[in-house]
Symmetry: C2
Subunit: 444 residues, 2 copies
């Protein structure tokens, strides 16, 4: 079964609430919005991602025969409710910031307008999808900013949190500006460019390191990138120099070497010298091993002669901030705006829009969050995506989203692009929205 | 498609190495072991989990027609190699510590013995599965130790990293001692007990909080747990008291209330008093909201009148340590032990066994890691699981694994059970293993 589209991939309370809504006839239109409450420490912005998977989930939403049978046999639900579930589809509207949009706390990036049971049921998976890809795209963008144009590749599948995390991390990091991924399934499903070298086990399985390199070259003539740190990095670089002429006679050209341990800047410097002196100035140096945006910044600042970087666990788990404080909250029901007032978790009511103002330098200067039917200066970021359960336009090619993301990152204030602690971009709450909150609170 | 069993859910380099192995006829038996290099900060032990999913993955391993077609059309692989992939199955042996076993750094918890291409190909997904569930079981066990017997429920699907993470976090936390989960699919697939209450949106969608409670009670007569912090916690507790007699006349009994914000110890105290004075001493108090093992310890230490706890994001993302420094390394090929000597990443060579010694108090005193054919005193932890691609025994019921894990946690040294900084359990490397490493290094 495809767990990604299972209607049972949800919290039990969604189903129990649904039964109560249905029994009470509470099926009027509800408006929910997804937003992030605050920036993690040291972060200055978010990059929206995951919308495409949300739309696919909503388009396909239905209970299978087996799922309906499970509901019926669980003893928790009435026959009438199971029959209701059999017919349930998503028939609502979706508004959203396009994937690749930069955004800030308290800004709705997705708005769902649908009959209450539908809008409620989808909460868990919608958060699950938007949260993870936005988390990873926002993290990956920091590495992209750190390396200032050099290629980055996602090597993080193995320690990502399960199958879907690895797959979607490849998508989210590519969207954010990575050159590609090692995850083959992301190549076959999303068209993300694929990269790969060899593992230490490949070298170890051979009796001789040079022999391992030669075998790999024969098998992958178009992609000869040799891992040289299994035993001693500089010794192996010497073996590469010695091997190159032998390969050349067979018409094979070594494209690169990979370093995966030790002080990468120091090793890269020594290896570059060995390769250059050995007549291999075109052989590139790829590095990997516990890299995050700070390690990347340091390698770039040190002027280490590195041509590309592979980033793994720190990116696919967003290790320094492995979750976002996000929520999907009811903002309106049956035409009546509402908000939660729980301690420390109060939200702004009603359906909302975000307007973005740019400075004279073209950089993002300020956002204004206001009620959806208010008009403000600036660019309206929340756009219609689905109407009555159907997409309004075909999904954007991933390459186009990546181009958009690059343009968005280019418009960040310079201090945020430098990954420095810097004043946040101001997010202003409009007077119209404040007035609405006041009237909601006064109503009680 | 079920991405969980896709043969393309792997790193590109596994496929390119495979092609080289196959072309060179390097198909002799290889031994790989999975282990964790070090404990995350403040952690004292790991709890093994994920083996069942690894076995299922190995049993089902094969390239589908579509996957073979993708390989052929990618331009990266020879026709002969694609034909090899069409016939590829896992035909090897698997040894492992049973799920629910406590273990420590440098101890192999899984050993694969198989023809080199098979053992290599499975690396990425095997790590991906063992890493995540072991990460989560080890984290969840800390909450279990913190609450000293009170029920814990997993509420973490929404911010877990994708579909499989949420699903497997429910399994891993149940295995570690949680009472159950809110994730419905974990109930239907694994039989994990399900729990759930209501969301703030349910209360907000009603014009009146009491009316929301009454509707919920009608729809869920067996499971009336009311969320009381949407507006004002103590006011809502008063409404619960006022509502109870009305429900009682309909034969309905309120089982509990849930608090999700503010100072949970303070609110629980006040709410307990309101409920008791209102004649509802049997109504339980459930709390949730940013709980981790330290918050749980503090609530228990404060003597807060709380009956059960829901734990979410901090557990399903293992927020304070979102990954383990784990590896799956080649230890032997064609009867020849080997090891990687990369800086800071050297490993112990050969196929290994772990023996556990217990003290007079029945607690774990020391582990000894040695070569597999060495005999030592103590309990041998690594056991045969698969032979020639087949399970040696049916999979253990999850409830049995949970019972084993509880027994294992009971045998931890008391300081580790208290989550205190404490001396690690000693893991001794046997002389036989040291001798083997020396001979491997001398061989060059």
């Amino acid at each position: 079964m495809d767990i990604r589209s299972s209607a049972l991939l949800t919290d039990l309370y969604q189903l129990t609430m649904l039964q109560a809504y249905v029994e009470q006839g509470m099926e009027e239109f509800a408006v929910f919005e997804f937003f992030v409450r605050r920036l993690p420490p040291k972060r200055g912005f978010f990059l929206a991602a995951g919308l495409e998977q949300v739309v696919e989930f909503l388009e396909r939403l239905r209970f299978s025969e087996e799922e309906l049978q499970w509901l019926a046999e669980s003893g928790r639900f009435s026959r009438a409710f199971v029959d209701y579930c059999a017919c349930l589809r998503f028939t609502g509207d979706l508004h959203a910031m396009p994937e690749g949009t930069v955004f800030f706390p308290d800004e709705p990036i997705v708005r769902v307008t649908a009959p209450l049971p539908e809008a409620q049921l989808i909460e868990t998976r919608l958060i699950n999808l938007l949260h993870y890809q936005t988390l990873i795209a926002s993290k990956a963008a920091r590495s992209v900013l750190a390396v200032q144009g050099q290629p980055l590749v996602d090597f993080g599948l193995r320690r990502s949190h399960g199958a879907e995390a690895g797959l979607l991390a490849a998508r989210a990091s590519y969207l954010a500006g990575f050159a590609g991924t090692a995850t083959v399934l992301a190549g076959s499903l999303f068209g993300v460019p694929l990269y790969g070298t060899m593992a230490h086990s490949f070298v170890q399985a051979h009796l001789d390191e040079t022999e391992a390199f030669a075998h790999f070259a024969d098998a992958q003539p178009e992609n000869i990138v040799l891992l040289i740190d299994t035993y001693d990095t500089e010794t192996a670089a010497g073996k590469v120099v010695a091997l190159a002429p032998r390969l050349k006679r067979k018409g094979l050209t070594i494209r690169g070497v990979r370093l995966d341990s030790g002080d990468l800047a120091v090793h890269a410097g020594k290896v570059r010298r060995i390769l250059d002196e050995g007549g291999l100035p075109d052989v590139q140096i790829v590095v990997s091993g516990n890299l995050d945006e700070y390690a990347l910044q340091a390698l770039v600042a040190a002027g280490a002669p590195i041509d590309s970087f592979a980033v793994g666990t720190s990116m696919t788990t967003s290790a320094d901030a492995p979750y976002l404080d996000c929520a999907y909250k009811l903002q309106e029901y049956a035409g009546r705006a509402c908000r939660k007032r729980s301690e420390g978790k109060a939200t702004w009511p009603g359906r909302k829009q975000v307007y973005r103002w740019y400075g004279a330098d073209g950089r993002i200067a300020q956002d204004v969050v206001t009620v959806a039917d208010d008009r403000q200066d600036g660019e309206a970021l929340v756009q219609p995506v689905m109407e009555a359960g159907r997409r309004l336009a075909p999904s954007s090619p991933l390459a186009d989203i990546r181009t958009k993301a690059a343009a968005e990152l280019a418009r960040l204030p310079e201090s945020l692009r430098q990954l420095q602690d810097s004043p946040p971009v101001p997010v202003r709450i409009s007077q119209a929205l404040r007035d609405l909150a006041k009237s909601v609170d006064e109503r009680g």
